[in-house]
């Protein structure tokens, strides 16, 4: 089965240490508890931001350690970050536009209460 055992230079992986994996796992659990706990209090506008910051930290831990972006090639790192920035760009422009014209939708809703089909 292990054809190339004898040949040098074939080691491609960087096995992650168990200690590291366990600590990331622990951190993720703690953060989950934290975000649920924070959500029990009504903190107003920053509520959403806190939840998102915690989620982002968790996501970063997963990406960097579980997905070993810390060891990976530059291209792969670039790709992943690029994809997220890219999706962000799409969201930003589309949503930016919508908020500019949204009052025209609201006005129409007020003036034409029967326009929408009734559901529910």
């Amino acid at each position: 089965m292990h054809h190339s055992e004898e040949k040098p230079g074939y080691d491609l992986g960087h096995p992650a240490s168990m200690k590291m994996l366990w600590s990331i796992f622990g951190a993720l659990l703690v953060l989950t508890v934290l975000t649920v706990a924070v959500a029990q209090f009504n903190l107003g506008a920053i509520d959403f931001s806190i939840a998102m910051i915690i989620a982002t930290v968790k996501a970063t831990l997963v990406a960097v350690y579980f997905m070993h972006l810390n060891h990976d090639k530059g291209v792969n790192r670039l790709l992943f970050i690029g994809a997220i920035l890219f999706a962000g760009l799409f969201l930003a422009i589309a949503l930016g536009d919508v908020s500019e014209y949204h009052h025209e939708i609201e006005q129409h809703r007020i003036d034409n209460p029967d326009y929408m089909k009734k559901v529910g």
Binding site: E104, I105, Y115, M116
Partner: protein, 336 residues
Amino acid sequence: MNLPILNTLASLVQDQKVAVPSDPTAEGTYWFPVQASTLAEKSDWTFYYIYWVSAFFTALIVAAMVFMAIRYRYRKGVWEGEASPGHSWTLEITWSIIPFLLTIVMWWSGFKSYMYSDTVPPDAYTIQVTAQQWSWEFEYPNGAKTYKELHLPVDTDVTFVMKSKDVIHGFWIPAFRVKKDVVPGRYTKTWAHPTMEGQYTLFCTEYCGTNHSQMMVQVTVEDQDSFDKWVAAQADPSAGLTDVEYGKQIWSQQCIACHSNDGSVVIGPSWKGTWGTEREFEDGSSAIMDENYILNSIVDPNSQLVKGYPPAMPPYKDLSQDQVDGLIAYIKSLGN
């Protein structure tokens, strides 16, 4: 035999020279219909500017290409080209900068005329436009509604506040160079300042289904006096009409796109000879075509979907009692 193609070929050669309109009351130019609004003058300038830039570059590129294909053509046995540089920063920068500068002008003048057409003047004369498959409704400030025609006073700012009952439509009057989509679930606005009396066409430019290409209306621009008289007369459309005549008028304005009065099927069933007959529905039930059924078909058409027809009819909730009576009388008059 009349060969229109030849005329066109001839005009391709001749008309091109009168590119910039000298007399706006004329038929229009090779590229444009008449300029009948203030916006037209502004946006046409941009068009012609890009046009000449394009003509210049196309001519340049084609001439260079033809010249080099001949001058440097392959000669038997001589397969080496002459030695020449492989790149040149001077050239690259030149042919990047020049188009860049030219596009800045395009962008700026296009932006100006766009902002002009997008900035609705605050106290303009306002017409409410409602689009639906496949007709237009124009409501004037005095409550008058018209369907088959749109009248506008000359030399006045007119705002169009538009909404759609079903799908997206497009409001376009080429002579004004004004275009805006009419989007369901929201308002869109545009405006025009007509400068010339005359008759123009309004097209629907956003694809909206079967009869998209027939969603046209005649636009009449007239002086303020005639316009005022006309609008006043429209306020009472049933004046002097019998119920049947009134019904027929409404039909010809709002229902004709889908219902015929001669037995032919357009989108919905024809009204000819249906009065009093039994109508079968998609769900298997049936009903007799009477006053109640017609009323229900008008306000909630999909509740009794006639067998074999799509659920294409929009509900008409804002027809008055008079109008519904007229329609019933008219359908009755088409016999059974």
